[in-house]
């Protein structure tokens, strides 16, 4: 299913990576952020929303990376260039990600940033929408967010243009250590 997911997600301009360990994934993430100009200034900082990936990681080490922040507020989210969050599921047949986004922080980092980095446990890959809906009941999830590729529009002369109100890039990082293998 991972391969199918990757093809579909890349088909809608998402970028897909896969790492076995959190350590490898973290190395990639930091490298990626710095390569894209992460800095402790508005429009260059990164906001990381609470997630299980962060469990057991030494945040004090991470906090020393200039520009990387873990407290999500509206104001900071509005300034951040990068938003990092963990998505719960991935749908192989459409290349989509899904998350219980009832906590506003999760939505702030993924909707206001220019680059959304989504960490996904590898065993979160499901075949399709019916599989997702059978797992997530609205009673336990006030805001189910399903994201497929970056924000897009074709409203001017039907020309597909990426990045309107939402992120212009969606970087997906699967991590086996969070559960599952491919």
């Amino acid at each position: 299913m991972y391969e199918q997911f990757k093809i579909r997600a890349e088909g809608v301009s998402a970028e897909v990576y896969h790492y076995a360990t959190k350590e490898a994934a973290l190395d990639f993430l930091i490298g990626f952020l710095q390569g894209e100009g992460l800095a402790d200034t508005p429009q260059a900082c990164a906001l990381w929303a609470e997630c299980s990936f962060l469990d057991n990681l030494d945040r004090n080490v991470l906090k020393r990376v200039p520009g990387l922040k873990f407290v999500v507020t509206r104001e900071l989210a509005a300034e951040a260039r990068f938003g990092i969050s963990q998505m719960d599921w991935a749908l192989a047949d459409t290349g989509s990600l899904a998350q219980n986004s009832s906590a506003i922080e999760q939505r702030l980092v993924s909707s206001l940033s220019s680059i959304h980095i989504a960490i996904v446990p590898t065993n979160g890959i499901l075949p399709d929408m019916p599989a997702l809906l059978s797992r997530v009941h609205p009673g336990d999830c006030a805001y189910l967010a399903i994201i497929t590729g970056p924000s897009r529009t074709a409203d001017i002369e039907r020309v597909l243009t990426i990045g309107v109100h939402g992120p212009e890039r969606l970087v997906i990082v699967f991590v086996d250590e969070l559960g599952g293998t491919i």
Binding site: R8, V12, T73, R74, A78, L91, D93, T94, G95, S96, S101, S102, A103, I104, E105, R107, L108, S111, L112, D128, M129, P130, L132, L133, S134, H137, P138, G139, C141, A142, Y143, L144, A145, I146, I147, T148, G149, P150, S151, R152, T153, A154, D155, I156, E157, R158, V159, T161, G163, V164, H165, G166, P167
Partner: protein, 714 residues
């Protein structure tokens, strides 16, 4: 049709930006849609959608009740009303109670339907559209021209002019840059807004959830940043089961924009915390505004199966020429005509219902399985009921209902038409005795109609018999087609009968909403055609075939007439179109064509009724190829030629460009002959080729096949 309306059409078809953008889009759309549906059984999928939506339509009250109680128990406030005025008042009250100064909106047709923006603005509340297309037209002070792409009629230059004014800086027309500007301009509006207003693509009764879909991500911001969220949902968006969301999500993005899934889908069930820790004020308004009445109407209940994908607009040959503005301010295209007739008023649809040429293209792609052309016909019928038939048409129909008089006039016309004859064409032909307009070559009325020529045909004595229903065009304009048909069937061992009392099939009256007239025609024809003992009733005109096989029955049904119903069914069962019967006879070995003929390139035009109502596409193609033609398919072979009976006379400004497009597609194949199975299409396309001076032969399949049989018999 009013002058103002006619002018709006002329303006639209002469707007090169509009027709160019829509034309290119509709071409790309067809290809992309097919790709998006690859590997999916569309018929099965839309069967399920139709079923679940139709169930919801019959249980609107129950589902609204269930939705309200579920949503309320999860913490939302639900307001139910039938009245658009109450919706506006409710929203304003919530705004005022919470001291709301600015509102951001994500796209919602329901708010357009009730003209919410001007109402709130008058009360001093600033309302900002955030969907890029909606924002553009809001800045331009216009209304949406398409349900899914509201600003499709505008060029990037126009957009850059608008944006330049907005940001006080001269911008170029670079599209990615313009999109960036929109992002930068709207971001502060999102962050500052006190209230977000959205529509809802789906409302789930079982769970009290609403589903929102956007590609730009604006609905996520509208529902997340402001402290209050109001969702205005028409009750036709209700479905019963949560699991069925997946069914609609499978079709809606594919049909709307040829995407596998819209970029952002949010399923919201109850309020969520705001960034400051307070709970969001979530209000869901379930608006009826005549939807229950619609559900109670046996005919129009179907329209509630609509999931608002706009694919019916995208494939409509008329819409791609005139765009949305001609249709009015809110809902556009085929389904828009129906929604306008209901949510606004029947009278408002008077002009726009006439835009539909009844080609059926929309019905084929509708994921809600709605028979849009049929519902538009029903609007026509009800308009006629309400307003009566105009005097001129009344006189015409009195004639059409009197076969002897009608045929007498047609004969007279053949004489009267003489002075205008140039070659095989005259300018004015009172064939459907519709409003006379000039503009194209129309065929001369034959000096001797088929009914007279038939008597001179000597047929061999044969055991089996078929009844031939000629229809007005073959009888009075193209009798040679009828003669060809007789020759072919004789070869296959059938004697052809021509019941003399047959008359007009009633389609012209029906398509103008005059069902009583059509019903009288039906009865006359039923009597005539069932009076002879024949295995089949064959017709070489798809419009007539559809009348005999389907419409006599549905006309009686619409009028609640039962007297002739069983005979109508008997006739329907015997009725068969020319190519289907001949293909069958060839397959059975009762007809053979000469082997090894090399007749050159031919292209085939699918007539609307033949392809989409009778579902016949391969039979004529196989027959022509077997006869020795090499088939070269044209682009958009099944797109309407613009004839549509009296449509070409009533709306020549639309019919003409459609015809030109068809002619070009035919010429582009390099074929020297174009075949079709409909004498109406022959009339339109032959007339076009004649005026154009192009030497491409325009022939009915019956003539081409008859030629080959004659050769083979020699």
């Amino acid at each position: 049709m009013g002058n103002e309306f006619k002018e709006s059409i002329t303006k639209a078809v002469n707007n090169a930006n509009l027709t160019g953008a829509l034309g290119k889009f509709s071409e790309a759309y067809k290809v992309n849609r097919a790709k998006a549906y690859e590997g999916i059984d569309f018929e099965e999928l839309r069967g399920r959608i139709a079923e679940l939506k139709s169930y919801a339509a019959s249980h609107l009250d129950e589902l609204s009740e269930q939705f309200a109680s579920k949503a309320e128990s999860s913490g939302a406030k639900v307001f139910r009303t039938n009245d658009p005025a109450k919706v506006r008042e409710y929203i304003l009250k919530v705004a005022q109670d919470n001291n709301v100064k600015t509102v951001v909106k994500s796209k919602s047709m329901a708010t357009e339907e009730i003209h919410l923006n001007p109402y709130l603005e008058k009360a001093g509340i600033e309302v900002g559209e955030t969907d890029l297309g909606e924002w553009i037209i809001q800045l331009a002070g216009q209304t949406p021209s398409h349900m899914v792409m509201p600003a499709i009629h505008m060029t990037k230059e126009e957009v850059s002019d608008l944006f330049s004014k907005e940001v006080n800086e001269r911008l170029t027309s670079d599209i990615p840059r313009l999109v960036k500007v929109a992002r930068e301009q709207l971001r502060p509006a999102f962050l500052a807004a006190d209230m977000g207003i959205s529509g809802g693509n789906i409302a789930v009764a079982e769970t009290g959830s609403i589903v929102l879909m956007t590609n730009e991500g604006n609905a996520r911001l509208v529902t997340s940043l402001p402290k209050i969220h109001i969702a205005l949902v028409g009750i036709e968006k209700l479905i019963e089961k949560y699991a069925d969301v997946a069914t609609i999500l499978k079709a809606l993005p594919r049909s709307a924009t040829a995407q596998l899934l819209t970029s952002y889908v949010s399923i919201i069930t109850g309020p969520t915390p705001n960034p400051d820790g307070s709970m969001k004020g979530l209000h869901i308004i379930l608006m009826d505004n005549r939807r229950s009445e619609m559900a109670a109407d046996p005919k129009f209940k179907q329209a509630l199966q609509c999931i608002r994908c706009a694919s019916c607009l995208n494939v409509c040959p008329i819409f791609r020429l005139v765009g949305g503005h001609v249709f009015g301010k809110v809902y556009t295209g085929g389904i828009g005509t129906i929604l306008t007739a209901w949510f606004d008023e029947l009278k408002k649809s008077e002009d726009i219902q006439g835009l539909c040429i009844q080609c059926g293209a929309c019905k084929d792609v509708c994921p809600g399985k709605i028979d849009i052309p049929d519902l538009i016909m029903e609007i026509r019928r009800r308009l006629v009921l309400e307003q009566g038939v105009p005097l001129l048409q009344k006189t015409i129909y009195a004639v059409v209902n009197n076969r002897k008089l009608f045929h007498g006039m047609l004969r007279a016309a053949s004489v009267a038409g003489k002075p205008f004859t140039s070659g095989k064409f005259i300018r004015h032909l009172p064939l459907f005795l519709a409003d006379l307009t000039d503009g194209r070559s129309l065929p001369a009325i034959a000096a001797e109609p088929f009914r007279d020529r038939f008597k001179k045909i000597i047929q061999p004595k044969l055991k089996e018999r078929v009844a031939f229903y000629a229809g007005c065009l073959i009888d009075f304009a193209y009798p040679e087609m009828g003669e060809s048909l007789v020759r072919i069937l004789n070869k296959a061992g059938y004697e052809v009968l021509f019941p003399e009392d047959q008359t007009c099939c009633g389609a012209p009256a029906r398509y103008n909403g005059a069902y009583e007239v059509a019903a009288n025609n039906a009865v006359d024809n039923i009597k005539a055609l069932l009076s002879v003992d024949a295995t089949y009733v064959i017709s070489a005109c798809p419009t007539c075939t559809v009348a005999l096989a389907h419409e006599f029955i549905s006309t009686f049904e619409s009028l609640g007439q039962t007297e002739w119903m069983s005979e109508a069914r008997e006739l329907a069962n015997k009725t068969i179109d020319f190519s289907t019967l001949v293909k069958k006879l060839v397959d059975e070995g009762r007809l053979t064509m000469k082997e090894g003929q090399k007749l050159g390139k031919i292209t085939y035009h699918d007539s609307c009724h033949l392809k989409r109502t009778l579902k016949v596409t391969e039979q004529p193609r196989e027959l022509l190829q077997r006869a020795g033609y090499e088939l070269a398919e044209m682009f958009e072979c099944d797109t309407c030629c613009g004839m549509g009976g009296s449509y070409s006379l009533k709306l020549p400004e639309i019919s003409a460009p459609i015809l030109q497009r068809k002619l070009k597609n035919i010429k582009d194949t390099g074929a020297s002959t174009v075949a079709m199975d409909c004498p109406g299409c022959v009339m339109q396309i032959r007339g076009g080729m004649d005026q154009d001076g192009t030497l491409i032969k325009v022939r009915h399949t019956v003539e081409l096949l008859a030629e080959q049989l004659i050769i083979s018999s020699q």
